[in-house]
Amino acid sequence: MATATVSEKKVVRGSDGGKTEYVVRAKDLTKEFKMGTETVRALRGISLDIKRGEYVSIMGPSGSGKSTFFNMIGGLDKPNSGTVFINDVDMAQLDAQELAFLRCHTIGYIFQTFNLIPVMTALENVMLPTVFAGLPAEEGTARAMELLEIVGLGHRLHNKPSQLSGGQQQRVAIARSLANNPSIVLADEPTGNLDEKTGKDIIKLLRELNQEQNVTIISATHDHKMVDVSDRIVWIRDGMIDKIENREDIEIHIGSIGGDATEEE
């Protein structure tokens, strides 16, 4: 199996000026955590490019570094070295206000533990990003209602998270992640706290949104149900990329230009 990271770098270099093609480019990311006296190397040089509109699953056992990697590309944490580009912007160069703008407008987040604000209703939770974006309340409400309708919760607008099931809470979180029309949705173990069937529904919903709204979805998971819907599956082990699989293994193109971008399984 060829090392996909290498061939992908070629793609980036080969594509001069193709600024809109890759929505995420990560280069040689490393991250260390201090656990008492020991230093844990969570990421040991990961590079990955993700195309606009792709549905990418990052798979790996717990402790493999996939959540850490996920946090890096989401701008939720900083790498010790290496760079992350979102829409060709180097995240390390951003100040707090620019970073906040990016989190607000460009990236939507979905978490394993839903992370809804417990004291707010479904509608208020989904509206929250629009408030931070400075959208007037009427527009925010309309947008939130529309999204809750899309995720099938049009009838639970005024319920608090505690009054909703896990699957419903995750639907609210999905609606919230889309509030400001992001170009990327990052989902960290979105099915981790859900039962088999609910998990399947959530995956189906994410895939539909990916196709209908043309939003790039990057999901860290160890749920194998995710494999069926993903365009690419990135396997991470011990803080490094183990292998990258395409859903259609027959057309083995990564990137869209040049013969050197192809690789064979």
Binding site: N71, D77, T83, L94, F101, C104, Y109
Partner: protein, 218 residues
């Protein structure tokens, strides 16, 4: 540990893409958030405010009882009363700090979430400070009123000691100035302690990367 890169860094080297800056929401919005937050978790807010209330009530009652005793008592008695005032200040400080710290740290995840959704650090800190000051000032005022009243009522019910010289009244040397100065001492103490015990953890939670705030378990 701050999250953002130095703002002086040159950003021309890579990519060339530009990101706008997030808008700072007006104070009015922060007030709205703070007010709603207190209202929605009313019971929890009452318990937090209860810590401030009790601390200040204790402090106020000790201050008033010292004022009633006045300066005509024995030096040993004055020393005892001063000791009590010092002690009550410590108890009050620990009580207030404890309840405010608790109420902020249990919301670290909420802070992390809000930042993921695009809230600015300063906005998050503002919400918490407005909430804390609202609760701190109201609870301190109520605490002062109740602490003072309870002590005055107890003194009144106890009457004048038989050993006291003739002409002594039950309220001793307590006058309006004493009440005013005790009020002017208690409220700032309550407000400053509340603000500090909120600002430090809220500032910390807001300035670390959201992932770290979300990881926090208490």
């Amino acid at each position: 540990m701050s999250e953002a890169a130095g703002s002086g860094a040159s950003r021309s080297s890579n990519g060339g893409g530009k990101v706008q800056r997030q808008v700072q929401l007006p104070w009015k919005k922060a007030f709205e958030f703070a007010f709603n937050s207190i209202r929605i978790r009313f019971m929890r807010s009452m318990i937090t405010a209860g810590g401030v209330f009790l601390g200040i009530a204790f402090l106020a009652s000790v201050l008033v009882s010292k004022a009633i005793a006045g300066n005509d008592v024995a030096a040993s008695e004055i020393a005892r009363l001063n000791w009590l005032v010092g002690l009550s200040l410590v108890v009050c400080a620990v009580g207030i700090t404890n309840s405010m710290l608790m109420s902020v740290t249990e919301r670290f995840r909420e802070i992390g979430t809000m930042k993921c959704l695009g809230a600015l650090d300063t906005f998050v800190v503002r919400i918490f400070m407005i909430e804390a000051l609202l609760m701190g000032i109201i609870a301190s005022s109520l605490g002062w009123v109740v602490g003072t009243l309870l002590l005055v009522v107890a003194k009144w019910a106890g009457g004048v000691p038989k050993s006291a010289p003739p002409g002594t009244v039950w309220y001793g040397s307590l006058d309006g100035m004493d009440l005013l100065s005790s009020f002017l001492f208690c409220i700032p103490v309550g407000a400053v302690l509340t603000a500090l015990a909120t600002f430090i953890p809220a500032r910390q939670a807001a300035s670390i990367p959201p992932a770290a705030a979300l990881r926090t378990d208490i």
